[in-house]
Amino acid sequence: MGSSISKMKSPTKVYDSSWEIIDRDDPKLFDSGINETEKCALVPDKNADSQHLDKLNYTVMENKFVKLSPDSDWSEYTFVFASVSVGNIGQLAVDLLISSLSNTQKCGYLISNLVQPIAGHNAFVQNSSDISLSCELYENSNLKLVLMQQRSPLLKGKRNQFVQILSDFIKQEKFRESVCLTSSHAYERLDSQLTGVQCRYLASDESNKKNFDQNLNWKILEKRIDHNGNLSTDQDPSLDFFIPGGGISQKFYKSSIENSLNSTVLLVFAHEGNNIPETLQLVNYFNEWKNYLIKPSQWRIPISWKYLFGSTLDSAAQIY
């Protein structure tokens, strides 16, 4: 390898810059293949990469929720979280809840290697020196409510792990119930969904189902042919409920049933675009059930929604 390189340029001695990064398959660099054992002092073992990966299945990022007050008791609380879904509606809805419900304070976060990292200043308070991260928890002790806001998507292939972490967290904190706010592709609607109220629910708890059906007059998400064109049979009833564009909501619902968790999924059908109207639909739908706010007009737009569609145009700029 050393002799091949010297064909390109006469080497000059520098203090210790002899380490090279080489593409073994690069035909520009080598006339022939490298004899790894003869030429290279540091050759990764053939199994080194897999060993390296195995070792790092443990991660310093821990993948667990951190509570700012470790002694907080959230049993009997409601846990509400957003699924990253079409139009980011779930996340917009959680933003609205956090900014509108008074006395909602940050109470924890999730540092995880499953979520794309982002960091900025506090998304709800202007000129704050607090730092906002990808996944944060907010508590409203008056309403016995914990909200999780997720500001960035999951890394590819990490949904199952993330759902597992969520389910473990819900079990560990003994939440009375959990609610997933999400959305679904409007272009995948069935004929019966094209008109009328655009919100639907799924509930693992029978008493909630009864309340939704009889008192609130809500519609359960209709059964449908799945994406492979099959009408599901009784083999796996959870496949009846198909939420295209709904992120982890379908997996989470399935996991809730398997783990006997009291979970509800609330969704609204939406196209991509300006999704503020659909977000208001969803939070009003949720508020019909929970009555957190007396009037829908009390929803407070958070500062994190500033520049949702980009900066304002500079009026002084000469476009043409």
Binding site: T12, V14, I21, D23, V60, I118
Partner: protein
């Protein structure tokens, strides 16, 4: 509509197709993760006061011009390196000589002792890591090195900066764990709803987890390549904010090196054009 006229489903900016995810194979290039090659084996962790992480070409150029260029061989010790491309591996020449390639395609990690009475670990990450590499890279670093504080340097294109105020570019903003930090003329706080992402954000999350102090500087640049003005502006911002804690030098040597920054950058990135 595709070229053949058939209707294609729209796609969401938020989610990929759900039904593919469960059975999706991770793309082959995502299996490759950059490994940090440490030059010396050690069972003990190296202790430094502060980590300086430069992410991206503007930050790495800044580091080279205003810090590394001023340090001689005895003042900085090469501890480790990684490839600028995750599919490449590390080899050493038998005769331990340098070549043009030696200056290319490497991210270097130096230990600098006794600078302003502190020790530093200086990490270059010239080409941005892929999303599956951020945390892996931090794991590798933390496995070998203990640091008590972190300075992060990064850059973004000006189009990703949101503000209702008129802003001249390039400009430098900061995000810090120090709530008392006073702004400087050339370095204002990163206003909402702007945010950092990728490795800088992953490092910030790590610092929050480990309760380490951090200050992150982001240069919003109008250029898609490295330009001298952005590197200079980064210096103005960083030195203005850090004041007496500033370890970066601006002298004749820096000015001379700054004029060659284009060559430095192209020597690393040219093979990927």
């Amino acid at each position: 509509m595709s070229l053949f006229g058939e209707l294609q489903f729209g796609f969401s900016r938020a989610v990929s197709d759900d039904e593919d995810d469960e059975f999706a194979r991770v793309e082959p290039n995502l299996n490759f993760k950059r490994k940090i090659q440490w030059l010396e084996e050690s069972t003990e962790k190296i202790e430094v006061d502060e980590l300086i992480l430069a992410d991206g070409p503007i930050s790495c150029a800044f580091l080279h011009v205003y810090l590394l260029n001023h340090l001689n061989e005895s003042e900085k010790k090469l501890l480790g390196l990684s490839a600028t491309n995750s599919e490449f591996k590390v080899f050493q020449n038998d005769d331990k000589t340098d070549s043009e390639l030696n200056r290319m395609r490497k991210n270097l990690i130096y230990k600098v002792d006794n600078l302003n009475n502190k020790s530093y670990l200086v990490c270059e990450v010239f080409t941005n890591l892929k999303s599956n590499e951020f945390y892996d890279w931090i794991d590798q670093l933390w496995e070998r090195v203990n640091f008590k504080a972190c300075t992060i340097l990064c850059s973004q294109n000006q189009t990703s900066y949101f503000s209702s105020n008129r802003q001249e570019f390039p400009c430098v903003k900061y995000l810090s764990s120090n709530k008392e930090m006073a702004t400087a003329d050339k370095c204002q706080r990163l206003e909402e709803p702007n945010f950092l992402q990728n490795l800088p954000a992953a490092m910030i999350q790590f610092c929050v987890l480990k309760k380490l102090e951090f200050t992150a500087f982001v240069c919003y640049s109008p250029s898609i390549n490295v330009d001298i003005q952005s590197v200079k502006e980064t210096f103005s911002g960083v030195s203005g904010l850090l004041k007496d804690k500033n370890i970066f030098k601006n002298d004749d040597l820096s000015k001379k090196c700054l004029l060659n920054v284009g060559n430095l950058v192209n020597s690393v990135s040219g093979l990927y054009m």
